[in-house]
Structure formats: structure tokens, C-alpha cells
Amino acid sequence: MEGPFIEPRPPRFAVDRLGERFPGAVLEVAEFRGEITVLVPKEVIVEIARFLRDDPATAFDMLTVVTGVHYLGRDYDFEVLYHLYSVAKNHRLRLKVRLRGNETVDSVTSVWPGANWPEREAYDLVGVRFHGHPDLRRIIMPEDYPHHPLRRDFDVEGGPSEIRPEGRVASPGFRDMESV
């Protein structure tokens, strides 16, 4: 009887191909519960993404989701996780980049248009800024909300930020529409 988790089909070869194509780009590889996580430098994320999408062996044609994780007390502040899936080959891979402080990472919306909202969400809730994103606005929280609530140092009890100045519109749709 097999376990409740999926039959591990980790695409180890994808990591090898990545290493061949971008020497030195595979900084770290972790395998846990049949999932492979590859740490790559943030500067080349778009090139790597495009390679993994277009290479017929890897064929990661779908970006499942983009997630941001905030860390305290490490030599990096953010991890941005790209969960890739290949519809054609049926395997998954997790790419990871690390950011410090105010660093930005290039948006992968040009590779996978489906990255649009997940990246906005990572920006909104975690505070990761994506360079070159077509429409990097807050998506869940109100436009004028000052914090990024999924940071580990965010005060769950709520601070003075919750009080909005009188007369401010929470979500100024009209102004946004002008840029459409």
C-alpha cells in the first residue's frame, strides 16, 4: 500500500540540464518528500524560466503559483518560490530565489502570463517587488494599506495602520482605470 502523497517523479534530469545550460546557476538543490527545490540566482530567473519552459525535455509550460516567504534573522530576507508544472511531461519543480532588503526580482510574467496575480499577491502580502511586472499594485489589501501582513514581524493584533484617514477611498477604481 502506497502512501497518501504522490508517487515521487522528481525531474532530477531538469536540474542537470539547468546546470549544463547555466553553469554555476544551480546554487543549491534540495530533495524532500519527492519534491525538488532548486535555488538559483535572482539575476537570471527570467532566462532560467524561459529555458525551462522552452526546453522540450523539461517543458515546464505552466507556472502553478508564485509564493513569497519572509525570514527573520538570516542573511537574506525573502525567498520567492516558483512552483513549476509541466502539463506535457507531468512533473513538478520548485525554483527559489533569495532577496535581501529592498532588492527586486525580475517578473516572470513575460514567460508565464499566469504569474500576474500571484506576483501581485506576493508583492501585496509579503512585500516582494517584481521588476518589470505590468501592473504591480496591491491586489488583496486596499491600495493605501501601508504594511505587508505576511511578513513575520507584522503585528497580528493590528496597529494604528488599520485606521484609514477620513474620506479616503479604499480602492480607487476610477484612477486605476485611466491607466488601462
Partner: protein
């Protein structure tokens, strides 16, 4: 003309009824309770931009076409009532009239006046 008097009378009665209903309701109905009641309906958020702007021309196109064809219908009615007496000549006269209108109609159709996107 005496035949038409009841219609006028009914018009008066209907107007009185409408007035009575509205009047009675304005006497007994509840007053608006808050400022929110009086705000324009915009799906629960503030108005993005005021109404009263120019609207797309397509609707006016429909109105123009309607006028044309309603005139046609208006001509058809008296013709239809005496159609039996007019016989074949009357039929051809009306066929020519409708034919001319139909050409215009087909022109509008081909030019896309009746399309919506």
C-alpha cells in the same frame, strides 16, 4: 367622434388612479432613514464617475430605422383595410413601395447598422 369619448374618460380615470396611488403612498410611506438610502446605486461602492455622458450612437441608429419602418407600417394600415377593393393594382403599388424600403433595409443590413459589435 362620440365613440372616442370613453377612451378619453378612461385616460382621465387612469390618471386619477395613478395620482391617487402615488399621493396616498407619499402620505403614508416611510421617510428615507439615512443618507445612504439617497445615494445612487453603484454596487455598494462610491460613484466612479457621474452619469449623463454621451452614449453610443447605435441606439439612435435603431431609433432612426424604426421611424422609417414605422412610417411604412403606417402606410400599410390604410392600404390593408381597402386591399380587397384595390385588387391586383393595389398589390403592385404597395409591392413597389415596400420594395424600395426593402432595398434601403438591405443596405443598412449590409453596412452593419444592425450589428452590435
Amino acid at each position: 367622434m362620440i365613440d372616442y369619448v370613453p377612451i378619453g374618460l378612461q385616460l382621465v380615470f387612469a390618471a386619477l388612479l395613478a395620482g391617487a396611488m402615488l399621493g396616498l403612498s407619499s402620505l403614508v410611506s416611510r421617510r428615507p432613514q439615512s443618507r445612504t438610502d439617497l445615494s445612487p446605486y453603484e454596487c455598494g461602492v462610491d460613484l466612479l464617475e457621474p452619469g449623463g455622458k454621451r452614449y453610443t450612437i447605435r441606439f439612435y441608429m435603431v431609433a432612426m430605422l424604426f421611424i422609417l419602418f414605422d412610417i411604412e407600417a403606417a402606410f400599410l394600415y390604410p392600404w390593408a383595410t381597402v386591399f380587397r377593393d384595390l385588387g391586383l393594382p393595389g398589390f403592385f403599388e404597395m409591392a413597389i413601395f415596400i420594395g424600395v424600403l426593402l432595398v434601403g433595409f438591405l443596405y443598412c443590413w449590409r453596412r452593419g447598422a444592425l450589428d452590435w459589435d
